[in-house]
Amino acid sequence: MTKNTFVSVLLLMAVIISFSSILDESIGLSEQISQVLASEGLNWRASPNIAFFSPYVEANPRSVSELLNRINGYLPLNEEARYQWLSEIVGHSTSRMNTTNDIILSTYVVLKPVTQTEASFFRIEPVRNQQYYGSCWAFSTIGTFESALAVQALGLPEGNRDNRFDYSERWVGYHNNNTFIRLASNAWMIQDEDRLNGGNPYHALFNSIRYGEMEEQNAPYAQIFISTEEGVPLPTSAYGAPLRQSSKTALIPSARDCLHFGYTYADYLNMIKTALKDYGSLSVTFAVPGDFGNYASGIYTPVLPLSESYHAVTLVGWAAASELDDISLNGKLKNPPVPIIKNPITRYTYRDFTLPGVPQHATDLFWILKNSYGYLWGDAGYYVVPAINAAQYAGEAEIGLWMIEGFDMYVPLFDSDEKHAGDDLDINRDGLVDQNDFGDLIAKIGSNQPSDISACDIGYPKDGRITGDDASAWITLYNVRHEE
């Protein structure tokens, strides 16, 4: 770290504790961040984001970080230091409640990576505003749900571009789960709790399958947009309202896990890109740095340490470095639109201020993300971060927890009869579709033979494996084709 940068960061820390109003603090923060950005040559712009922070002044948070800790309400599955338990209760008992983790896990599938050659691909989808709740996890869940529904059910590669779908984050919060019960059972049991503050898309997307999502008009978030209440009752319009269910959820494991499972760096990136392009925008997570609220545009890399909070957002696309000066995310607010960065680059180098030693990294790939702070934050509600590089993926360099690759990513899957139009149930190719075909499919489960996979991989999505997912697809299609 240079001397100038060191001094700037110290000043920045002093700024955080010296202002009385969050607006004053934000103004001071953005000035100090800007100095660090200039001295580091970083390509993002900081702003006081007055329009974003102003509505929160009356809630009287003591600091910007306190506010961000409140609204960034993602609860990590395995890192809930605030809720550590010493429990003599061991899970796996029949004294269960609504759902146990064995069933939740069975709804997740891992996608087969397919090589993606586009230099960039992204969707501009509606930016919502979570307001004063720690409900980012619900907005991230609905963001991916709406996008995936548009891509998979309607065949719209552009996703939920024209606000075609608007589902209720309030409904998602109504079926949040009780954190204490989950943790006391070693993450085995979940029981519903009506709570918007703090949650996780892992469970919320399971509810997309077992309950389904409700349209916004039937449980409007607007009716509760500013409140400190928990357990907000549903409006009467919610009772009996139609629910749209997903079929299962695709999971992209964290970079660390993918490496452990044997995926190459290219596989990992292609898995994310395949999910994005073919299935919809993804629910992703990261630990929030102290300067995140002051992002205005450009390539965000933190210059402050991590706060105590985690945030869930929606990954809508990717871009090669050379494309960033050609892509605009703010066309709905600015005329003419302003590109992500002004001058072309082919590679980007930055230092990670959240890690000990402030290591330097370089990359030529970037993620485009949609936040849920409304259109008046960031680049019209969006922001851009660097993707991890090959050295980071290989474990030769550390991954800062502010990077989305440190966590699992999710996108719902919507199966339908139409997606199986080309699937042949005559597994043994004897000219008859009968129970022998089911038996033959079961016998080939786990086979690596390309001919077997070609005949038996009929589940949605096709994952290049033969599993029970294909057997259940066979049963469903048999019944549909024999007019159950």
């Binding site: 409640m97 146990t100 069933i103 006391a184 399958i209 079929s247 786990g446 024999h482 159950e484």
Partner: protein, 449 residues
């Protein structure tokens, strides 16, 4: 006279026809039934909660009154019939598949049919929070040094000669039969005030000062919940076990908390709820068949699920998958799938993973006639034999649960249980007992660990 007879005959026939058919006006030539949406809450294919009141009304195409016979079926069996009515309000009490059939009276017209379902899962859509665990956190507990807790059960019984009931409050006294410090059974006394039991409020263990913060009530246990206020585990939570008995699902209970200083005097009612009642859990579990096994002979292990088939039917379950892991010193010599689901044609199969000593079981439901064999509460029967030369005193079995994706590579298929409905969507609510079963050879049967 012949003309008069003819006239009378025509008049008689006209009167007969006029009296015997529905009063449909002659300007309504098409006799179809039109459901009156403004008065009808019944929807084709919809799901309702138990104890829902449903209404259906109908008319002719020109909006006139039309009398119909009304038939209500549950699981194919008639449960309600109304004759010559203009509309019906009825309630559905139990879970199941229902069908309504309307037949116009005296009019030749095709009957109208409605199919719908009643499930307790639907009820859960609008009942957040809650479930089969009641957890409460009271900051006021942090200030007390003593605490007594009393439990009560709501009960009622018929008042003879009336259609009324006598309501009462039963005392539920916790008893510790083996004096091990953990209460293990209830003593229930009608119309009495329950004896209180003392709950420790503060203690030190694990180099930490703990203080009572809340309680957790379950079907099979009561747990006080402590908060670490100082020491090594400050900020952590600790559970202890007050009792190994709990509260039945669906029954109203109450608890009363008070301390010696009178700073807490708190009553609260609670009812644990699930999609099934206590005793009807749709649970898959391992069960040794035929008594103590011998090392020299084959023995049979069942995956038993006495309540699962009915529950699965309510939720249109079409696919079941689960994996059983067994001791590697055993060989699996046979797998048999009994006829598990009533009135359903089932296809079955299995895959043995010899390396991991596990077998994955598959069962699908397809259109077609049910098997002729009698219905069994067993999902599958697995026959094992001890491998030659294996000095085996006991063997462990389990229905597999892998919480880590990392472990999936050890199996040819996803190891966790999966249940799917007719849309290939996931069915929630079936339970799989993953606790291992240990079977001893020669000195006793199976024991759940």
């Amino acid at each position: 006279m012949r003309r008069i007879k003819g006239f009378l005959l025509v008049l008689f026939l006209a009167l007969f026809v006029g009296c015997s058919v529905n009063p449909v006006p002659e300007d309504d030539p098409v006799m179809g039934i039109v459901i009156d949406d403004s008065l009808t809450t019944l929807r084709e294919g919809h799901t309702y909660a138990p104890r829902s009141v449903v209404r259906i009304a109908w008319k002719t195409q020109s909006g006139k009154t039309l009398l119909c016979d009304f038939f209500l079926y549950r699981e194919g069996e008639p449960i309600d019939t109304r004759h010559a009515v203009e509309g019906v309000v009825f309630s559905v009490e139990e879970e199941g598949h229902y069908r309504v059939e309307l037949t116009p009276v005296g009019v030749r017209s095709a009957p109208v049919r409605y199919s719908f379902s009643v499930t307790r899962a639907y009820e859960e859509l609008y009942q957040s929070p809650g479930g089969s665990i009641k957890a409460e956190f009271l900051d006021a507990l942090l200030a007390v040094s003593t605490l007594d807790i009393h439990f009560f059960r709501y009960a009622e019984e018929p008042l003879p000669g009336t259609n009324e009931t006598i309501q009462r409050r039963d005392a539920m006294n916790l008893k510790d039969s083996n004096q091990d410090g953990v209460y293990d059974h209830w003593e229930i006394i009608p119309n009495a005030f329950a004896q209180g039991v003392s709950v420790a409020c503060a203690f030190n263990t694990l180099d930490t000062d703990w203080h009572l913060r809340g309680m957790r009530y379950e079907e099979t246990a009561i747990y006080p919940l402590y908060f670490g206020i100082a020491g090594l585990y400050q900020g952590y939570y600790l559970h202890t076990t007050l009792a190994t008995v709990g509260f039945e699902i669906g029954v109203p209970f109450a608890r009363y908390l008070h301390d010696a200083q009178g700073s807490i005097n708190d009553y609260a009612s609670f009812t644990l709820r699930e999609r099934y009642d206590t005793g009807l859990k749709p649970c898959f579990f391992l069960d040794l068949k035929g008594g103590t096994p011998s090392r020299e002979a084959e023995f049979t292990l069942a995956i038993s699920a006495p309540n699962a088939a009915e529950f699965a039917a309510y939720y249109d379950t079409r696919y079941f998958q689960m994996t059983v892991a067994y001791d590697p010193r055993l060989s699996l010599s046979a797998v048999f799938f009994p006829n598990f689901l009533r009135d359903q044609k089932e296809l079955t199969g299995y895959r043995i993973n010899a390396e991991e000593s596990a077998v994955t079981l598959y069962r699908g439901v397809v259109v077609g006639e049910d098997e002729k064999a009698a219905i069994s509460p067993d999902f599958a029967l697995l026959t094992f034999r001890v491998k030659a030369g294996a000095p085996l005193e006991y063997a462990d079995f389990s229905l597999v649960y892998e919480s880590d994706l990392d472990a999936y590579a050890n199996y040819p298929d996803n190891p966790n249980p999966a249940f799917k409905n007719k849309s290939n969507g996931f069915v929630d609510g079936l339970i799989v007992e993953h606790a291992p079963l240990r079977i001893s050879f020669g000195n006793g049967g199976g024991e759940r660990r």
